[in-house]
């Protein structure tokens, strides 16, 4: 539409800004928006189009999760600790988006430092699910998922440490894609669990997600864990076929915890895909049942180290305390919310003398076991299919009050982070009018074929891209 000059970039940007102003007070997706900068970026994009230099994302507004650095635009991680923090630089992914002419629309809400699964741990606001405002959009990239579902942005960036892109995408009925670990630079992503964190897109279709993924991936020397690989290519995405694909159904991902409505939607999707020529194989990956426990040792351990940098000295808030140590302890007491403190405590405990072997080292061995079991499974399979989340969107205040219950719903998404696999969630149906997300996982570096399969699945399922029921 933009390249065909049916609308100008400024008209599109303005339309989104107006829609955000009208609707976002209800859903609470955005934390920061700078309309002036949005319009300036749109004008610049338009001149690119006028010069005939447009790419697929030129002039396309994109929302960015607020744990990804944006030069000149406040980046808070939804934490009091970073209130007022304006990064002097762009994250690699943001720089790449700008380079493609995309318009950074604003910063979206999240669980504080991406720790949570409901976006309720934000220090600033509650985000509501566009399918039912009494319900959570999931998390931690809940602001990004809700913004895309409410059509406040055509696409958004999220980050995924244990499912934080795929789970909110599932609960909001949109597509969420986590690339293979290392395909997307983490430079400028505020670190949570560095060995697990990966940035990725949320969008309303697999194709849109693939176009954003193409723009933000590729090698970056600024991130030591960035893989020396080409950007993910979106070129072949429409040329896949379901016929003859061999897809695994992992018994441990279809356990008792699965909501009956979610189970029915996933089973219905499996039947549709079978008629399209997919061969399903029921398999067992025993370590999956240890995923949540392993994750909640490893991720907090890494977080406790990563968050040590927030000390009230170089950036962020500073509280009054006596002496240097007092100042640091008081700043962290006032700056962090309860869930962040709890995870710092778990991580510090698991890493402390006397417990390191029993918890952290052991969790790393289970992680290795899990990676090995997935590697073996993928030797005979093109992909693994599961629910992205065992329950549909839950009521705000319902699940998050129980710290163990909210953590247990991550069990289908966590293995991809443990083993570095690419994973995608797309809508496959509805349970009591709430979207159900279907997850596909593939072997590391098989991002392109995963996107191709997801695109074929999306075309085969009748309601995959149905829009949320809001005007």
């Amino acid at each position: 539409m933009l390249r065909a000059k049916e609308a100008s970039c400024s008209e599109v940007a303005e339309a989104y800004l107006e829609r955000i102003e009208a609707i976002d007070p209800t859903y609470g997706c955005f934390l920061a928006i700078d309309p002036e900068s949005v319009m300036a970026q749109a004008a610049k994009a338009q001149s690119q189009i006028d010069r005939g230099e447009a790419g697929p994302l030129t002039g396309v507004p994109i929302a960015v999760k607020d744990n990804i650095a944006t030069a000149g635009l406040e980046t808070t991680c939804a934490s009091k600790m970073l209130t007022g923090f304006v990064p002097p630089f762009d994250a690699f992914v943001v720089e790449r988006l700008r380079g493609q002419g995309a318009v950074v629309l604003g910063k979206t809400n999240l669980d504080e430092f991406a720790m949570g699964a409901s976006t309720e741990n934000s220090a600033f606001k509650v985000t509501r699910n566009p399918w039912d405002p009494a319900r959570s959009p999931g998390g931690s990239s809940g602001g990004s998922a809700a913004a895309v579902a409410a059509r406040l942005a055509p696409a958004a960036l999220g980050s995924d440490t244990g499912g934080s892109i795929r789970q909110p995408a599932a609960l909001c009925g949109v597509v969420g894609f986590k690339p293979t670990y290392g395909r997307c630079s983490r430079y400028g992503l505020v670190a949570f669990g560095s060995s697990l964190d990966q940035i990725g897109p949320l969008a309303r279709s697999v194709k849109d997600a693939a176009l954003v993924a193409e723009a933000i991936t590729g090698h970056d020397p600024q991130d030591g864990t960035s893989l020396d690989a080409l950007p993910i290519s979106a070129a072949e995405i429409e040329h896949g076929s379901l016929r003859g694909l061999k897809i695994g159904l992992v018994r441990e991902m279809f356990g008792e915890a699965l909501d009956p409505g979610v189970r029915e939607s996933i089973n219905a999707a499996v039947r549709v895909l079978e008629t399209e020529g997919v061969r399903f194989e029921r398999i067992s990956i025993p370590s999956v049942s240890l995923g949540v426990s392993t994750y909640y040792i490893i991720a907090p351990a890494e977080a406790s180290s990563n968050l040590a940098r927030f000390d009230g000295v170089r950036y962020g808030m500073r509280a009054k305390g006596s002496g240097h140590i007092g100042l640091v302890e008081r700043t962290r007491a006032e700056g962090f919310g309860h869930e962040v403190k709890s995870r710092i405590m778990i991580g510090s405990y698991a890493l402390s003398a006397g417990y390191y072997d029993a918890y952290y080292l052991r969790a790393q061995r289970v992680r290795a076991l899990m990676a090995r079991e997935f590697e073996q499974a993928f030797q005979g399979l093109d992909a693994i299919l599961s629910p992205a989340c065992p329950v549909p969107a839950f009521k705000i205040g319902e699940l998050n009050k129980d710290p163990l219950a909210i953590k247990q719903i991550d069990y289908c998404t966590i293995p991809a982070n443990m083993a570095g696999l690419p994973g995608i969630s797309l809508n496959c149906g509805f349970a009591e009018n709430l979207p159900v997300g279907l997850q596909l996982l593939a072997a590391p570096m098989r991002d392109e074929s995963l996107l191709q399969m997801a695109h074929s699945v999306e075309r085969a399922l009748p309601n995959a891209t149905r829009a949320a029921p809001i005007p």
Binding site: P88, Y315, Y349
Partner: protein, 96 residues
């Protein structure tokens, strides 16, 4: 294995978190509930499996030892909670 209040205080000191008594109590309960549940990783046989710290195995990555453009001190100091003459201001650490 149960975590005592004293251990909670000790870990909080390691983590440089000032906690009040109510938080210490609530975190003791939470840590015991969570770590008690996560203890199921102790029942799996992982003998002979090397621990894995990362999703992909990469050797050390070295950056070329050449200067590159970096942020100016002005840019860096803009976010400092307290600064003076291009330096971070902190409470006195070493007394006279």
């Amino acid at each position: 294995m149960s975590i005592s209040l004293e251990e909670v205080r000790h870990v909080a000191r390691l983590a440089r978190l000032e906690l009040d008594e109510a938080e210490i109590l609530s975190l003791q309960g939470e840590l015991n509930a969570l770590l008690g549940h996560f203890a199921d990783i102790r029942n799996v046989d992982v003998s002979g499996i090397e621990p894995r710290s990362h999703a992909v195995s990469k050797e050390n990555v070295w950056a070329a030892d050449v200067p590159r453009p970096s942020m100016t001190s002005q840019q860096v100091m803009r976010n400092a909670p307290a600064s003076k003459a291009g330096l971070f201001v902190v409470p006195t650490i070493i007394e006279d």
